[in-house]
Symmetry: C2
Subunit: 359 residues, 2 copies
């Protein structure tokens, strides 16, 4: 089966690497000349708004998916009219707009931080008064890795935040003093079957994910699965979805969903019986899902901006290195390292060794 | 680093799939239009005797290796004069000729079945008398998957065997009534460091490998490592080598070596901490070797001639499917399935389920 992927970054690259063993082949559409998935499939270079590129893409695949949630709605509609596009337009539209997301969570009874859409400077000020400080102003669309966000600690921050973000559709959210950030990576097959990975505990710095550690015995596993399952069903979802939560006071508050394989699930490549990448492909190819169980204690560390010497990384027996073939650039995700060990203490020690190399 | 691989079959394909995460890129030279590694790297289509093709290949790589042992000596010499070729010419020459192989084993004190080179019909008859029946007549070169072999059960088989194989350089070997066939997959780094996988118990049918099961607690592990280490050192070897043995009477008799990643090591993709594919690349790229330890009880089943429905294979939770993207043809290796389980009994049960699908 020929899989078409909109986007040819590291997620597309890892999908392809995981999909060849299933006998799948891959075509990517991506405008970037240096798209890092290009060496592992056919790369059609074109804009997502270019109908000729989209037509060529559709001709070269049997089913289509995407590796980033900001696929333009028109491109998704064009592809979906010609090929099965999974996940579907509803999932994509919902995930592209923080307000739609929040309203879905509300409707499904999934707790969310207080929020209000904000369209004017006056509305912002009024919303901040109702929600209270600190609160977070976010663009409704196109935010990622902490971009498009401003924390308001008091009314004196309103002007700066408004002047920076006010030209776009916005949402104001209550600031959550969370205890932990958790994500639940899940897959849903075309037949509605689901598989949930152990919840992953995530640590961010400067808005960018740094480490993820799966916690198979987490007391919040059942709740995270319950909430994630509600969203998968409501969106009649096919493929892998990531649901990010704030853990606070023994419960979970919904943060956001990503309708794709997700950085906080990269540990599954080495640490799960069947990785998120393979399970996404199994889902979109109409195959039975693979087991999402943990194989061994593991963790993931992102390589941001620079890659430590491969000689040093390779010397850590527990480290599985995953480089994306991208040019180094500050703040850029260039790869990650999964550590897999016989027990939690050995995992933590290996994790510390990897982190020491990152400086 | 750019890795050049002579040959673009399934071994090249799996090397590339395992090497992208290390940031490596891949160029293959192979005359076949439908070479199954082509989608996962740059495929230069050309004959191994074509100097222009070899020159282009050398230009496109920093270091070179191969995925089949029958690389023509002239091609290997051409490449080795321009790029580091690993394993080297000595390993290749030795493994290409059963007589050189046997003499090396002899010299290193590694037991071998009785053997004699055979050049004439009379010499064959005399050798058979000395070695005794049954015995096996083998071509010295280019044999694989049981091809180029004839079992002689008595003198009455001499004529047929001679007329079938007599045009080539031959070797007569004593027939070994072995208890088990074992192989030892090992890697040696540029610096001489070695890593040995647990010995693998292999079952062949019609001369083709059917199943491999790693036996981490095998009493013959130490002996297999000892013999394999002697060969690696004698050949000043870099990369993965497979050493096939006959287990008989509590000891090992050398059968043959393969100077490359090997079918009996395919289980390492899912069952070892670092696979034979990654370790071969680590060796040729000058990186530290990864651990060759077993992660969990596992086994490998080859898919020969036909592939069972993927739907059915994917339903077996313990099964990791590896298809090569090749057209079905009787006797052709089209893929393999690794089963990985929590214990030996579950592994055996899953293995039986996969085998049942093969009919």
């Amino acid at each position: 089966m020929r899989i078409g992927i909109l986007g040819a970054g590291q997620l597309g690259r890892m999908l392809a690497l995981s999909g060849y063993p299933l006998g799948l082949s891959f075509t990517f559409l991506d405008p970037a000349a240096d798209a890092c998935a290009a060496p592992v499939g056919e790369h059609l270079r074109g804009e997502y708004g270019d109908e000729r590129a989209l037509a060529a893409f559709c001709e070269r695949c049997d089913v289509a998916t995407f590796e980033f949630e900001n696929v333009p709605a028109a491109a998704a509609a064009y592809v979906a009219a010609r090929r099965p596009l999974m996940p579907g337009a509803l999932a994509l539209e919902t995930a592209q707009d923080r307000l739609s997301e929040k309203r879905l969570f509300d409707r499904l009874g999934i707790p969310v931080p207080p929020y209000e859409p904000v369209d004017t400077r006056d509305a912002l000020e009024a919303a901040a008064r109702r929600i209270g400080y600190p609160c977070v102003l976010k663009t409704r669309r196109l935010g990622y890795d902490g971009k498009g966000q401003a924390v308001l600690r008091s009314a004196s921050d309103l002007d700066a935040a408004w002047s920076r973000l006010g030209s776009r559709a916005l949402l104001l959210e209550g600031f959550v003093a969370f205890e932990r950030e958790l994500s639940c990576i899940a897959t849903r097959g075309r037949d509605g079957a689901t598989a949930f990975y152990p919840v992953t505990e995530n640590a961010h710095r400067d808005g960018i994910l740094r480490t993820s550690i799966p916690r198979p015995d987490d007391p919040l596993q059942a709740l995270a699965q319950d909430y994630t399952g509600r969203v998968l069903a409501a969106l009649d979802y096919t493929g892998v979805m990531a649901f990010e939560f704030f853990a606070v006071g023994g419960g979970l508050l919904a943060n956001e969903i990503a309708p794709r394989v997700h950085n906080s699930g990269h540990w599954t490549f080495d640490g799960a019986a069947c990785s998120q990448f393979e399970n996404h492909l199994r889902a979109v190819a109409g195959l039975p899902l693979g087991p999402a169980s943990l194989r061994a204690p593991c963790a993931m560390v992102n390589l941001i901006g620079t890659v430590p010497p491969l000689q040093a990384l390779a010397r850590i027996a527990e480290a599985r290195v995953h480089l994306y073939g991208k040019e180094p650039k500050p703040g850029r995700k260039l790869g990650h390292v999964n550590v897999v060990a016989g027990n939690g203490a050995a995992r933590d020690a290996a994790l510390a060794r990897v982190q020491a190399l990152l400086g």
